[in-house]
Symmetry: C2
Subunit: 229 residues, 2 copies
DNA sequence: ATTACTACTAAACGAGTAC
DNA sequence: TGTACTCGTTTAGTAGTAA
């Protein structure tokens, strides 16, 4: 987790970049930086000292004015922020939504479907994990959660193709990467079948979610669903 | 000038956006936000109150959890930050550089050239101001300033086309928008002629820079040159 | 000119707690 | 559960000034 401090530094970094310290060395005095930031010279000085200690900038201090260059590592921090914003601004929906539901025991069909090799193989390929043979079922109760669940349908999803065997056919499954209970990386899977409506979440993970999170029926669970795939 | 406080809020805003409050309403408790930000619930609560006072978010508080939506004005603040970063990351040079030089009296040829209607008309069109008939000449002294001045040549510039009259021909002039003495919007003009080398800056502005900034020979002046046109 | 230390002030933070 | 108040503590910010 980026702490608040870091963010402060990023702001100073951005200003330094704007002032010419980006991809080159710029002559920037603490006084000049202070004016641009609307802070005191002393605070600007302290910021530069701290940025230097973090290894984010390189300085060459002289009475004639210090030469400052932003280091690669700091450049990458700015890029990360940029990537985060780019995702946000250029798409017209948030990168994640969080839903909350209560655990209930399903019909056990989830396990049946997941166990089909064609599905589990594709899940391994597309989500990067071997699914535990079973799903965690959550019932959404609030209007907010149900509405949000419906919003998801229009966002892009990872698609696991259906198939047919001699007995019957298996349909397309949409998956959204998710973090379950704030801890376990897994996925929300939908349209496995039509037994449940949009007030139900079916979750898969590489582990047994009930065990891993110590869940029993009626426990509440938060699921953070990624809309960026 | 954006003050430091704003920046703090932008960080919270970005997190709220990531959490689903972007272009839609998200249910986010102060406790949940606090965890995501790595701060206390109390501080998260205060942030939300302040963001609401600023008009950056709209809240619908209920014991079941508050609904939060980012307002358009805050969205625009994020876009502004994004645009700033985009410029930085996608170009490989800084958006501005600052040079410092000392005032000296030129040969008065600047005035002659600027007074040519073909030039001044183009300057009006491309820079958006009617140039005062005269240039402010600055002599660069430090190695840093001379080197930086030379760096400018490879950055894109506004080009004012040359022309011919019955007496002689006038060459292409490159212009860089600039803020002179931290106050006056004008431009750096180059290649008006070859009398001066890369250790000299010639500046134009809608006003007489000497008068406006109270300058005399040997006074030092800072010039912030925009490399983004 | 600069930078940055010390000593102080102002602001932000968070624990406890009420609602 | 939630949110947000008070209030003591911690941290950030500045003035004065030395180097």
């Amino acid at each position: 987790m980026t702490d608040k401090q870091e963010w402060q530094y990023l702001y100073v970094l951005l200003k330094l970049a704007d002032m010419g310290a980006y991809k080159r060395t710029a002559k920037i005095s603490t006084e000049y930086l202070a004016t641009k930031l609307g802070i005191s010279q002393q605070t600007a000085s302290r910021y530069l000292i701290e940025l230097e200690h973090k290894g984010w900038i390189k300085r060459d201090i002289s009475p004639a004015g210090s030469l400052i260059k932003i280091e690669d590592i700091a450049f990458r921090a700015l890029q990360k922020l940029y990537a985060n914003l780019k995702l946000l601004i250029e798409k017209s929906y948030p990168p994640s939504v969080t839903l909350e539901g209560t655990v209930f025991t399903g019909l056990g069909e989830g396990a049946y479907y997941i166990s089909k090799e064609s599905y589990s193989k594709q899940i391994m390929e597309k989500l990067g994990f071997e699914p535990f043979p079973g799903t965690l079922n959550l019932k959404l109760t609030s209007d907010y959660d149900i509405k949000t669940r419906m919003d998801l349908d229009v966002y892009p999803a990872l698609e696991v193709m259906g198939f047919q065997n001699k007995d019957r056919s298996f349909g397309l499954v949409k998956c959204y990467p998710a973090i379950i209970g704030g801890k376990v990386k897994g996925a929300l899977v939908t349209a496995l079948r039509s037994h449940y409506d949009s007030s139900v979440l079916e979750l898969i993970a590489p582990v047994c979610l009930r065990k891993k999170l110590g869940l029993k029926d009626n426990h509440k669970v938060k699921v953070e669903i990624s809309t960026v795939i």
